[in-house]
Amino acid sequence: MTDLERVSSLPQDERVLLMPLVRTTTTFWIWAAIMVAITLWGAYAYIYQLRHGLGSTGLNTPEYWGIYIICFVFFIGISHAGTLISAILRVANAEWRRSITRSAEFITVLVIGFGAIQPVLDLGRPDRVLNVLLHSQAFSPLLWDVLSIGLYFTASSTYLYIPMIPDLARIRDLGLHPRWLYSFLAIGYTDTPKSRQTLEKMIGILAIVVIPIAISVHTVIGWIFALTLRPMWHSAIFGPYFVMGAIFSGIAALIIAMAILRRVYNLGAYFKDVHFNNMGLLLLVMSAIWFYFTLAENITVWYGGEEAELATLYSKLTGSFAFPFWLMVACCTIIPFGLMCRKATRTVSGTVVASVAVVIGMWLERFNIVVPTSLHPRVGVSLTHYFPSWVELSIMAGTFSGFILVYMIATKYFPIISIWEIQEGREISVSDVSERVAGYLPDDMDTVKS
């Protein structure tokens, strides 16, 4: 019996959710080939940069940081999709999370590497990157960053893996190929009530532990900028602003991923309209918070009126960065808020449009943070502008396609929706929730001791 026949004879949840593991369409191969081609092109661009030095970028003095640092903040931001959103939904006992946590956690684990390599791509001497460990200077925010991203990657991989064990054990028992992979990853797990209880306890602890770790990661990234004295970087709001923005872009990325998965793997029964509606509401709340934070950031600079700060601010509001700035405002607030505040547009396509806008807007936000400040030093006048070179743009395209590629591959080896959690939801959710709600209702007066 082939793997396909084996899976086809299973009951609905397992049949539908394991099908991508055993059946690969031509469309998949075409997209994979396109992604491989773009990724290889990006790799070629990096080799070119290695040979010719950072002179092959569009960077200059004082525009020391550009596309790579923007993408660094952007990708690490996207990585907050998974762990943080899934952890918060788990901790909050949101029952609708069951079908979306796995796909979110996969985004985290797979995108974080593409984010973490960005500062290395940006190094003048990548051959000396190990100096960060050999000659660590503990006072440097960059070192805190290395540590917090390392910790975050470890924690979120564990947080992806542990809840996947029962599914891996099930796949192992079905005997799907490659057998060695599943029997290795299932680490001898058998689904007894006792082991399930241990597992859920671990998940419960992990979900709480990863939240402060995830917050620390983007806070420290914000501090890389905020701890310098540069105009509009030296801002107390940056830590929280970055965390909030990360969650915002993470939710948007997750909505896009869900919509694509739903379409290509026929998961309409699992990623239902209600999921997009709820995610859309999260997006709505975050876009309002984003507006509030952005307003707070800019109004303090404007009212304070310090000369160096104002030069940077006005370059964004009315100067040479007005286009990316106001496009960012449109993409992060007007479009998502406008679409998500009405139930009629909180549909699959409505949330996807809003999410694409948010992803673009959040990339622009990082551009608007990195570039205008760089070009407005306190001392001296900068006459330069920043135009990324083909090398930078190719590497950026390569990292985007690289992430999409590994995500596509991941869906071919692992069920992208947690099978056991869906089944558990079918079995116990309704009674659990009814019990919970019953617990909220007022008690009978006679039974209450005063």
């Binding site: 002179g55 003048g124 001392v379 900068s382």
Partner: protein, 227 residues
Amino acid sequence: MARWGMVIDLDLCNGCQACEIACRSENNIAVGGSQAADENRTISWMKVHAETEGEWPQVRTKFIPQPCMHCDRPPCTMVCPVGATALDSEGIVNQIYARCIGCRYCANACPYLAKYFNWHSPSYPESTLPGLNPDVSIRPVGVIEKCTFCSHRLQLAREQSKAEGRPMREEDYIPACAESCPTRAIVFGDLENRNHRVAELAADPRAFRQEEGLGTHPKVYYLSEKD
């Protein structure tokens, strides 16, 4: 312990840029040519900024020579993840070219733009090759470099005075820029030594430092122009 510092009298500076040239040849600064200039990637440890005020016929140009400020509280050293830049015991902010990973965090942290990055491999016109200074190492592509107050001259001066069995004199250690200044606008010495002219000038009522409000405590003082 000495605390090396510099005073630049803006009244005496006539913008001749001899300090820039002296610095370039003393410290083997790469010659980027017009391409580097177009790309804003030139390196100039000592740079004479010109600020033009007013409109014709009432035009005034101010010249402000700008080396590294050698801050006593340098923002650049704090952020370096590998300790490749540090404040030494005599107040000089140094740079270890062999350790620098080229992240450019220090360059971003410096409010004075005194840190320069090697975007390309250093290049020198054929004619300047015989004149390269054997006391100063050439920086490879991908690292940060900066003004060192010609600290190699300090080493030489120290060795010299030791060999001659005498204490170091004020004129023993002078950076190339100060040495070459035809109007003697640049004065260098030990800010802690009352006998050094630099200590006296730094206490002058005309003395100020760039961006003093940032709390970086620069050791390069300027004497403002008398109107």
